[in-house]
């Protein structure tokens, strides 16, 4: 069929416009069509994204989702071990270990590394598949997934006190087997006694200069050591992903309860240190700022050691004392967070107040503390003295303040088995406090309170007042921190009898709470809401399920007609 001149022109125009359309649509797509992504249901602790090629620039395809444990299991079922994938290398101490890289020791160049992965992965998958077994993917897109249908549930792992103790025991107190630091002169890793810190102080999230990332460091050291120990048929730590990174598997790790303190020359009871020379006592500085500083805080390091799992909880960037970075005026090392702020920051787990605030969320505490405003600003300033204690009126002459500062800041190694030092003044201050282990006497606590005012519909409510007090008291009896901070037998009563001074006979609820929104004033709950919120809120926080919050007759007996 012959195409007319007209037809030809139409075809020409069609193709031009078509081309334009294709270009435009492709351009739109390239603009970045990333639809909403929902988290896949499928979670595994051993999911790794292989993106080793990143060191050579942008990835051409999305990284590969790799399930490490699944490969380990598959290989071991065929009698193969880690060496099937990981080559042997020699570490700086001349010892042999497994490289964490796949089938190579170095990232040489893009093509080479890529072919190492492609050739070996695909070859193995093909072999397994040819044996008629279930095998990994062979098609590009099945490994390189833009939107993987699996998500990592792996949790970061860390060493707590118990784990540390077990390692210390297993290594027979040879700290140098793990703790090291980099010596600039000899350019080697050396062990410095008394300067041990946590791994994370040096090994950061990402590899920096001659410090490998925490992730690499822990996998090279921990897993390699566990493997070697296992090879010796000795009890060893986990060698697969889930052993450390899966929450439920981690729960199975043995926890040692009574652990002797770590030996690193840390103090027992001291004052929270200020820098030397103290800028506030510096004559130059004195002119600017009033001499009336807050009283120093006596701090029981040993009590906090016992209460916490790791040193990292407080010592988040180094084993030095807080003031090293958080000086009174703030310094660059401490990100200009002043000492004051660093201790009082309510939203930080590393600050005193932040951590103590979290402790109030405990079931036994939150029933009362839930209703109390949190944070420094809204707090009653009289509570400052519970930490910033007034100096004792009489100090025996024999007591000399300990000049501890030099001992710690100059990092002198402390001999093994040394006595932990205490500042006698601080110790005296803390010991001067009487722990509160009881509230008022039984007969002073009303046994029952009858609440008649709430409703016309129900019988009066009997509040088992004494029973409640006793239960609350029993719950906190063993808590040292409670005993320390509840400074009066009546402190406990303040949980309900709030916003009035501590007293054996606190004012009744009606003295403050009246009708709801009196005079259009929305700031204070009415009596009914005050009762309901207090009772239900406390029950809810303390996990008391009966009576249910919306079951009226659980507390109020139906009125007989």
């Amino acid at each position: 069929m012959k195409i007319s001149e007209k037809g030809k022109s139409v075809i020409r125009w069609t193709s031009c416009l078509g081309l334009l359309a294709v270009v435009v649509i492709y351009g739109m797509r390239a603009e970045g069509v990333t639809g909403p992504w929902t988290e896949p249901e499928n979670k595994r602790p051993d999911m790794i994204t292989i993106d080793a090629m990143k060191v050579f620039g942008d990835l051409e395809r999305p990284g590969v989702i790799f399930l490490h444990d699944r490969h380990t299991e598959a290989l071991s079922s065929k009698g193969q071990d880690c060496s099937a994938c990981h080559l042997k290398e020699t570490d700086t101490r001349g010892q042999e270990r497994l490289s964490i890289k796949y089938k190579r020791l170095k990232d040489t160049n893009r093509n080479e590394v890529m072919s190492i992965y492609h050739n070996n992965c695909i070859q193995c998958h093909t072999e397994v598949a040819s044996e008629g077994e279930k095998s990994g993917p062979l098609v590009c897109g099945e490994c390189h997934q833009e939107k993987p249908d699996i998500v990592s549930s792996g949790q970061p792992m860390g060493m707590d006190k118990s784990l540390h103790f077990r390692h210390v025991k297993a290594h027979e107190n040879k700290c140098e087997q793990c703790h090291h630091e980099y010596d600039e002169k000899s350019k080697t890793l050396i062990y410095a006694k008394g300067r041990e810190g946590t791994c994370r102080y040096c090994h950061m999230e990402e590899t920096q200069e001659n410090r490998i990332s925490m992730r690499n460091a822990s996998h090279i050291s921990c897993v390699d050591c566990h493997l070697k120990t296992k090879a010796k048929e000795l009890p060893s730590g986990p060698v697969n992903c889930q052993g450390c990174h899966d929450l439920s598997a981690r729960e199975k790790i043995e926890v040692v309860k009574d652990i002797p303190r770590m030996e690193r020359g840390q103090p027992d009871i001291v004052f929270v240190k200020r820098e030397q020379p103290d800028p506030y006592t510096d004559p130059e500085f004195k002119k600017e700022i009033s001499e009336n500083l807050m009283d120093q805080v006596p701090f029981s390091h040993v009590a906090h050691e016992n209460a916490n799992d790791t040193c990292r909880v407080c010592h988040h960037a180094g084993m030095d004392s807080c003031v090293t970075c958080h000086s009174l005026k703030g310094s660059k090392e401490g990100n200009f967070v002043r000492l004051e702020t660093s201790m009082h920051q309510i939203d930080s787990q590393m600050s005193c107040l932040g951590c103590h605030e979290t402790m109030k969320e405990d079931k036994n505490c939150s029933g009362c503390h839930e209703f109390m405003p949190s944070g420094l600003k809204t707090k009653d300033p009289s509570t400052c003295v519970s930490c910033h204690m007034k100096p004792l009126a009489e100090i025996p002459d024999s007591v000399q303040p300990l000049v501890l500062a030099e001992n710690v800041t100059n990092n002198e190694p402390v001999e093994n088995g040394s006595v932990h030092m205490s500042d006698p003044l601080a110790k005296m201050l803390l010991e001067s406090r009487v722990p509160i282990t009881a509230t008022y006497d039984e007969e002073d606590i009303p046994e029952k309170v009858i609440i008649k005012k709430l409703s016309k519909k129900y019988e009066p409510t009997e509040l088992p007042h004494r029973k409640i007090v006793n239960t609350l008291m029993k719950n906190i009896q063993d808590s040292k921190i409670t005993q320390y901070y509840h400074q009066d037998p009546g402190t406990l009563c303040q949980g309900c009898h709030h916003n009035s001074p501590v007293s054996k006979k606190p004012p009744s609820c009606e003295s403050c709470h009246g009708a709801a929104f009196e005079g259009g004033y929305p700031y204070k709950p009415g009596l009914m809401a005050a009762y309901h919120n207090q009772c239900m809120g406390c029950h809810d926080r303390m996990g008391i399920e009966k009576p249910a919050t919306n079951d009226c007759t659980g507390c109020h007996k139906e009125k007989k007609k």
Binding site: S9, V10, M28, E31, V33
Partner: protein, 389 residues
């Protein structure tokens, strides 16, 4: 009504008449149900979906497709395209009937139809775009009535009144364009108030502009469709001028439609860019949006162009029909498919069979009235007593 058609060539019991009769009967039944049992008895409307196809199709589509009236009269009387003169009266008639049916449809949809004049006589909700739509539709209906009146007056033989009405042509045409610009765009602007309910691909600050420009497209395409339908069914009613001009109308309007579609396509794409909605194109709604944009805007634009270049009347006619369908799709997308996109499917709306019956009923009524008028009044031919020029 059927007896009147008998003498114009179609038998009393033709298939069309029988089907139309059935539809009318069904429509009357639903009408009774609607006004005795309330909306819930005949519609699937609920509190999440207060507007169904009676608004989405009957009002939105109806008004858009009735745009031929102002488009054609503006082309002829204002832009001086005298050669399209024969298309004016059919277009104005289509427009007039379209708007009449829209108003009738509203009587079904609103709760208290007798209160429809309330916005003008009781309280003016001047901040409402619906007030603006209502005012313009009411005024434009009057304008269309006056524009159409010469044909009726010629038929009735009222010469003086007819001459007086003809004198108003220019004023009416200008009023028509103003009012149409306003309410066509405002129908889109109705949705400006609900950015959280209309899918972002369809919601745009430019939506009034989209509605206005697409109404021009709808008007042009409807004139082409309507003229080809008239030619098919009322050939015997057409005079020589109409026959002669028919082809040039189709070609001219096809060319115009192609051009406006191109502009429409461009502003739609700019709309996506200005809201940075590119990523949404990769979603399910995005695919449907692309169907609308490429299939019902870009494609007819191109086909019109080919048809005009090749003087392929058949292609233009089919493209016109496709474009009209595209307008239907667009209006339904905005008012129904992309509306309430955030709701779970269980809360979404799907029309009740009775709603569809009423919509078809009204379209049928429109066609019947059109037939009634065309077979009597000088629409497709010039009254020899009243030569236009």
């Amino acid at each position: 009504m059927s007896d009147t058609t008998a003498h114009v060539g179609s038998p009393r019991y033709s298939a069309f008449n029988v089907i139309a009769g059935i539809i009318l009967a069904l429509g009357l039944v639903v009408t009774v149900l609607r006004f005795s049992g309330g909306l819930s008895s005949v519609t699937n409307l609920d509190d999440y979906n207060p507007w169904g196809i009676w608004i989405g199709f009957d009002l939105m589509v109806g008004v858009a497709l009735a745009a031929g009236g102002y488009v054609t009269s503006a082309a002829v009387y204002i832009f001086g395209m005298k050669k399209f003169h024969s298309a004016v009266r059919p277009a104005v008639l289509t427009g007039f009937l379209g708007y009449t049916l829209v108003v009738i449809a509203l009587h079904y949809d609103v709760g208290r139809p007798w209160r429809l004049p309330y916005p003008f006589i009781m309280q003016q909700g001047t901040t409402s775009l619906l007030f603006e739509v209502a005012a313009c539709v009411a005024l434009y209906l009057t304008v269309l009535f006056l524009e159409f009146s010469p044909a009726a007056l010629e038929w009735l033989g009222l010469e003086r009144a007819r001459n007086w009405a003809v004198k108003l042509t220019l004023v009416l045409t200008i009023f028509g364009v103003i009012l149409s610009t306003l309410h066509q765009s405002s129908l889109g602007a109705l949705f400006l108030i609900a950015p959280s309910k209309l899918h972002p691909l369809w919601y745009s600050p430019f939506i009034p502009l989209y509605f206005f420009v697409s109404s021009v497209i709808a008007g042009l395409s409807m004139v082409i469709c309507e003229s080809s339908m008239s030619y098919k069914y009322f050939k015997d009613k057409m005079d020589d001028t109409h026959m002669k001009e028919k082809e040039s109308v189709t070609l001219g309007f096809g060319k115009a439609a192609s051009l406006v579609l191109a502009g429409y396509f461009v502003i739609k794409v700019i709309g996506i860019a200005s809201d940075n909605n590119w990523s949404l194109l990769a979603t399910g709604y995005g695919a449907w949006y692309l169907v609308e944009l490429l299939g019902f805007v870009a494609l007819p634009c191109f086909l019109y162009a080919v048809g005009v270049r090749e003087k392929n009347i058949t292609l233009i006619k089919w493209t016109a029909a496709w474009t009209v369908l595209g307008i239907v799709v667009n209006r339904l997308n905005v008012s129904w498919i992309a509306f309430n996109y955030h709701l779970p499917s269980s809360e979404r709306y799907f029309p009740h069979i009775a709603e569809i019956v009423i919509s078809i009923f009204l379209v049928t009524v429109g066609i019947l009235i059109f037939r009634y008028i065309v077979t009597r009044m000088p629409i497709l031919y010039e009254d020899p007593d009243y030569p236009q020029h």
